[in-house]
Symmetry: D2
Subunit: 501 residues, 4 copies
């Protein structure tokens, strides 16, 4: 294993991974498959076991069967995958129990201790894949009744981390009563994406990018998240949050922070996270004038958001939002950062688009027509699907005469790197928890800074019952997003047909 992080003394320690909410969707679709992938790759310690915990009563055998259905061998041809699945399942156990009572956790602790007995030290990871309303109870009970006494105990929590500054603070204090900050791993699975990890490498290990990475050369930055499906009958949870809380205030804002932060003093988690906090604190609080919210309506036989039976009648929850943000520091003063996220749009993708300034004193202006943006240099980092990096530049069209056209300096991940076997974000993040690497997790002060930026806006939207602009299912979103962009002299880069292929 060439994973270059401080390693634990696995020769004398066991590891137990407990998934709370083991019968839920996330557990089945993401967590157990990721655990298996790590196990299969040999990245977990030899003495590892996995526990499911949920309210449903189930035997270990039934649990294993449930999981078995979800395991796949990422690369089909890999050998001995089935055999590995078998041994993996043998290490899976299940404990039923309620979240708000200690009894189940006490039983869990007993069973874990049994499995861990062969090693002097036991390390435990709790993955909280449970609804917000049982969050604090479950954490308290787990911490009080099932913490390891001989090794470390780490707790992975998923969003939502509250609905605003106050509720987030309350949650933080609740967690703080049972756990130290060091024990808490707040996951933003977007930070585990390959290209997000690469962002730091790109900037700081290439001397051609850093000199360009500022207001002097960058005209605007766009962080875009687009889904081509709606809530599809599962909008109940979503409706209480909306896309700003669900995607923008966490995933996209985290990406923005990584993009815009100053160079950290080292690659240590604390140094990187300190820089992220610093840049978040330099951002201006989002103003209601700088937001466009939308909600999808029916188109043909594609349903409206309000057609989702789990969504309250007349809900104003936004399924689309575009936000303009500004960073008030020396590097970024005046540069608009546009964040956009939506459901039920025409395509599925997530990307960062960096539009560079127009060429000053451009010799070729007469050859470029009226839409200068068409000749903008643009760096695109496509996070999903089909990871890619490309730089749009102007070239002479080969041949006689002098005509310019835009072409791409292109890095296609899938062709550039032999294996098309990029690990899932959860694999990366789970492995980081095992190794105690907090680089990709969100620190309490980051969370606070992020909520500070969005809470006034969210409160204003609610208080004023702002009606979202409707857009058809499968469209490119509400037109208002163009006007928001235009207000800051920006043109959305992702709505350029040429880039669609």
């Amino acid at each position: 294993q060439d994973y270059n992080l401080p390693v634990n003394d696995w020769a004398h320690s066991s590891l137990s991974v407990v998934v709370l909410g083991a019968s839920g969707d996330l557990a089945k679709k993401k967590i157990f498959p990721a655990l298996f992938a790590l196990y299969y790759e040999g990245l977990l310690p030899p003495n590892v076991q996995f526990f499911g915990y949920a309210r449903t009563k189930m035997t270990d055998v039934a649990f294993r069967e449930m999981i078995a259905g979800t395991l796949t061998c990422r690369v089909n041809s890999r050998e001995r995958c089935l055999e590995a699945q078998e041994t993996f399942l043998q290490r899976c156990f299940y404990q039923a129990g309620s979240y708000d009572q200690q009894q189940g956790f006490i039983s869990l602790n007993t069973r874990m201790s049994g499995q861990e007995a062969s090693m002097p030290r036991a390390n435990r990871i709790f993955f909280l894949s449970i609804p917000p309303n049982v969050f604090l109870d479950a954490t308290g009970n787990a911490a009080d009744c099932a913490s390891s006494r001989t090794g470390w105990t780490r707790v992975i929590v998923e969003k939502p981390f509250g609905r605003d500054s106050d509720s987030s603070k309350e949650l933080a204090e609740g967690l703080g009563r049972h756990l130290s900050e060091e024990q808490i791993y707040r996951i933003d699975h977007y930070l585990g994406k390959e290209l997000i990890e690469n962002l730091t490498v790109l900037r700081f290990s290439n001397s051609v990018f850093e000199p360009l990475w500022s207001r002097q050369h960058i005209r605007n930055v766009q962080v875009i998240f687009s889904e081509n499906f709606g809530t599809e009958g599962r909008g109940g949870y979503f409706d209480r949050y909306g896309i700003i809380r669900d995607v923008i205030q966490n995933h996209l804002l985290q990406i923005l922070a990584l993009f815009a932060m100053e160079q950290p003093v080292s690659l240590d988690a604390e140094d990187i996270r300190s820089e992220k906090v610093k840049v978040l604190r330099s951002m201006k609080v989002v103003s209601a004038e700088d937001v466009v919210v939308g909600q999808y309506r029916a188109k043909g036989n594609l349903p409206a958001y309000l057609d989702d039976s789990t969504v309250p009648v007349g809900s104003l929850t936004e399924t689309f939002a575009a936000v303009a943000m500004f960073i008030d520091n020396a590097r970024w003063d005046g540069v608009p950062f546009l964040l956009k996220a939506g459901k039920a749009l025409h395509k599925r993708y997530a990307e960062i688009r960096v539009q560079f300034r127009h060429v000053p004193g451009n010799l070729y202006r007469s050859k470029q027509g009226s839409n200068l943006d068409a000749h903008t240099n643009e760096l695109v980092i496509r996070i999903q699907p089909k990871e890619a990096i490309y730089l749009k530049i102007n070239n002479k069209v080969p041949g006689l005469g002098l005509r310019l056209d835009t072409s791409r300096l292109d890095l296609q991940y899938q062709s550039a790197f032999a294996s098309n076997d990029l690990p899932d974000a959860y694999e990366r993040l789970l492995l980081d928890v095992v190794n105690g690497d907090k680089r990709l997790f969100i620190r309490a002060d980051e969370l606070e800074a992020a909520w500070n930026l969005y809470t006034p806006l969210l409160h204003a939207l609610e208080k004023n019952k702002v009606a979202p602009e409707l857009y058809p299912y499968g469209s490119r979103g509400p037109v208002g997003a163009h006007y928001l962009a235009a207000k800051y002299g920006v043109r959305w880069g992702d709505l350029n047909e040429d880039d669609d292929e």
Copy 2:
């Protein structure tokens, strides 16, 4: 025709193109094919005819036959190519005559006038594809006896433009007695290469390149010309010049000037050429300490340069040279520019390599090993073969853990641009002469500045009878080139195995 240049009044003018030295290699291999290509594309005026002139006696018919063998239809599938060849050949005529006597030219004039009679104005181009020793005589006779009286007369001259400052000046004065500077088109066919033309576009129409284009960010620049064949029995002419005069002092120095010049005030030929002169004048005269010369020796059954029977016994003429140059201005002070050219090397290619500075305060240094150059950002502009532009950058290797590797942001011309039908340099240049566009031709003061830089070195090499370092036919050239580079902290980028594919 969308060729955006001031056009001539071809509705009332004819054009005659005269190739002096029509029976020579260049005429057959390059000039007539290029004329045909232009003709076929419809880029020449309707009233055009072509005259060959040489000492050999030949009928028009014989001449047409000779030419016919060289014409190809660049793209096979193009329609009506054979038909076009036919009409092209009907416009070809031949006149025999000596270069140093007026008689032939007077006859030529008469025949041209006959063809031109249908139009009130006659424009004439003379392409001088003849040896240096008859150069001035031929020019004088052509100018005196065969200049157009009703339109313009332009004369295309090919290198060699002398052997040093004095002989070049003499030649210039000789030409000047018969022609004005405006009439003279000094060809450097390298300037007609697709990517050389693109160089200006790349720099000045992209806001991501210009900020990097200086000593602040560029560590060194390499201009490399490599041929994988020797003189092969035709070294007689070459031996009198050597590779410095034949390639470096003109082709590579011209490329360097285009690369390094300041932004011109406009794209007009005079403005671009003024900037080229400016940067040439800022260069330091090449010192004998900054040059390595080599000559190829036999390897296996591949012959040595001295095995060429047309080469004088014991010739010291260099078939390889590497030169370090410096530009003493605000933009480039201290940056080494390395020029390298050689025959009988391992491969055939010509390229510009821009190596950027190492990342200051590099966070990733510990992950990059001892050879920092392997992680240098590098912009490569491959001029031939297979035109390409790529930027080498560092990336995270996809997957778990953090390993860096170098990958390419790549623009392959042949895949990026539909047609693989790039015009030959001669086509571009001939068309420019027709259109009176002197952007890609060398002005008298450029030539003078270029000779000023190399004449002291050339005289020193001759005076001191400097023996070239021998290198095997098919090798990567003399080892001395590495020491020259190392003296200035440079590593040749083209000798890195990874790039070879």
Copy 3:
């Protein structure tokens, strides 16, 4: 003499300086005093004599008396000044004659030849201090009848160089019929000012200024010329030109060109002038929307312009103008250059003010109040009176607490440099003519480029009979100038009270 320029062979040459228009004001106030100063400093060749030429009849003795009244010894205490005056006057001669007939010039030639006889070579300078209407005649006659046959002949011409592109071209062609470009020295005496000469030194010999000298750091540049007196009964000539032609299109535009040009390849006159032409050609033609014109009216007992009896009734000639110019190149794209000149204003001064950009992401903004401009860094180059350079920067006010204030990094010429004996511009320029140094003179293509920028505006003003905005004698000029500045986000730096002392 440490004047580092190619010197003439004065051991074998004589010098004659002829002032045409010798009885005029300029000759008396500036030219002869400057000639004397040079003579007194020993900067003129040993064999020098001075000729006055004008229509008035006068003896040498009367002429010497007239001149004698104007000569002063710049520094009173200097020794032997009176003695020097005496010998100077002995070298002065006078020839009466008309400008449009050859007779007078023939006589002049004869008398000069007499004085020059002792030396094998005679060099001659003609200073044309005569009205435009006799300009060409006088030049032609001087050139034809009084050129030196054994040495060089140089002709100094003063503005006006025409009234627009066409008349300037006509004048140029007129001069060209008698003189080569090399012989013509077009004087702009503003280029001879100490601080204008220093401008190039400041920029190119200090590494702290050049990095700031661009659109990245400079927000705007102001070139300001203010006179605290009106035409005072001599407005006849002025009225035919107006302040745009009289000051802005030449003096201020020349200063701007020097300020904004790229670094020349050397300090040679031709290289500097080529860069000036280059930047002039990059400027946008001045648009009528970017100009404010004014005319002073009476205030108390101070007269209006129209009160000047030499001014035509109802004249619309502008005595004040403010112009916004733009340079369309990579360095200056988007930066407003504001030029302002006026008569009968509150004070007399000429200066260049460079206002730097506001600090991005300014930590101290809350401490700086609403007028950000008050905290702008500003570089001021005061050309006259009291030459000075200072840089306005923000400082902490010494003492407890944290308050910011603006203070000056200051270079007072008069205290910094011992002697307060700066040479007059005419001395410098005359000496340059003697030495053949054309650095500070205007080349024909510069003149052409300058006229191209202003001719459309001047024609529009005339054609539309644009009425100037009236402003009181002794005021700060018309209010319109503020609105012009505000249109481009600029605040005039010279109207800030604090700077007045």
Copy 4:
């Protein structure tokens, strides 16, 4: 009071300032005069009292008499100064006691409580002006027996903060047992100097400095501390530390950190100190090869260091040191930072000198002679005496011809700012403690980072018994300092005669 910091509720709180070591030199010379100055200026809360504490037995009256001798009215003419002295002294009290026993502190507490009774809340400041060996005992006893129970208690500690990483850590842990980090104010009185405070203002509120503040433009930075007197019979304490610990590792390193840090996210103390830590952590550990140590020897009747009877025979303690440091981050990679401090040198001053890079492609090189450094742009910030800021630039020497000379853009504090009444550093720092402003105090992690940089060197010097280079009392220090500078291409700016006046 316009001191813009969060203020305490002084309407309901009292303030007691306790000086431990009240009979010592520092107390008498600096602390009580500073307290009086603040008192006199009305900057202390109305309900304030001052306590002396030391081993010596003394009555309040005797104590007041002792203090009275040290109070001066900074500005003589100030009114009612004597009256203010009188009321100040009435607020002074004295308590004798030992440092290592609780008894004295219990009595102190009782007496303080008596004075504080009138207010509901009592705040207390302890100023520890006592020797290292009683430090921890005194702190412990003060904290345990004399902390305020109704308000805050703050403790000011002076260097030495240990002798190396280990002893510093030990001390920190000792303090930490009795005090929280929030309560501790580690004083470096150099940070209270006017120009050090101004350093941040200069950089971050001026757009002309920040663009120059990096390796791109700065060639080297020198921080220099020079005293013109030796230990003069009081070398006992000094000998145990040496100049590196006494001046360089704290004062100069602190200045360097402020100079070189990145822009903080705000002006808050924590943000500034975080940036200082960041840059300290980026510095390379000082290597023994990059240090020159010296010791002064007798010169004439000026004594050697070893002549000081309090100095151990044969002491190797350095009284002079010069150090080259490097910062391994993106901004400063490769720039040498030279620190130099010495006793018994020719003059007394402290200053920062920033030497900018030579002009690339310098047009004026031929006019500048061989010593390019003489024409270097240099920014000098003189901390003491006579605070000043000046920028050395090249100018044309006024007059005919073109000669360059260096002149200064100058800001003389004493002439620029009316009052020459700059507050003493202790005033500023004491006031900051009262206001809880920790901007100018050293945080624990800063201290740790600073020791990490110097501990290996200090251990090596001691272990290897490195003999200092001797230099005469009153000289410019050991010659070795020049060789150290030369090794990195630097010339000491302070040893240039011209600057001496």
